[in-house]
Amino acid sequence: MNVAATTDDTEHAEHTDAPSTASPPPRRRGGGIALAVSVFGELLITAGLVLGLFVVYSLWWTNVIADRKADQQGDKVRDTWAQEDTGPGALDTKNGIGFLHVPAMKNGEVLVEKGTSSKILNDGVAGYYTDPVKATLPMSGKDGNFSLAAHRDGHGAKFHNIDKLKKGDPIVFETRDNWYVYTVYAVLPETSKYNVEVLGGIPKESGKKKAGKYITLTTCTPVYTSRYRYVVWGELERVEKVDAERTPPKELG
């Protein structure tokens, strides 16, 4: 009996004791450390949201802006071409020299402009190299390498599908007067960004030894990064005169 009573007592004592010690509720607000932690946590959440927005910006918004710009500039070029008064050979390189059509990339026409600075390329166009190796333009009729660069992601992502290009695929470059039809003959899926040899007049890495009329497309790889460069080489197959209806060559049909 006594034993039971004592255990009862202790149990009872514990029961009453527990709430009494917890009776002043723990302060959830106002504590200096708690406040600091909560502000820090909110800053982390904010940082996460900002980074997420940056991804949205990079992969979506820059495309919207760039496509708009490229359309405007492309329309301007076509307008200039439509005007008869620019004599043959007259070349306005300010707004772009022509359009690149690569059916395998399924991205329509890509305006080509002079230069590969990000200011140029961010307008959703492809740029031909002026530095470190000057591109040889197909209109010049000379042997050489028509080297181009465009974005893989964001800013129009004009070369996003460069990995879909296989040997034998056509690359067509359209100017005011001519269609230049190139055929892909070599692909370099990964190379150093310092490898300027790929732009050479005779790109040796592609296996060519003799001078010829080549085209080189460069962009970054793997997607969403700039660690390496992806290079595609083509060789001029033929040149077609543009007719009155601007009928595209059969490769684009």
């Binding site: 927005l53 910006y57 590969t116 390329l121 893989r152 992601d153 460069t218 970054c220």
Partner: protein
Amino acid sequence: MYGWIWRHLPGNALMKALISIVLVLAVVYVLFQYVFPWAEPLLPFNDVTVDNQ
């Protein structure tokens, strides 16, 4: 931080919610228009050319 902002917004809950949305949109606009274009070239995600540098 956000709790503090919420408490200092004027008006009732609906008003506060509206002001919050406007503030969020303003922040997004500033980020997209000024901050991200500035930050992008500093980050190594979009260099597509080969060069000597």
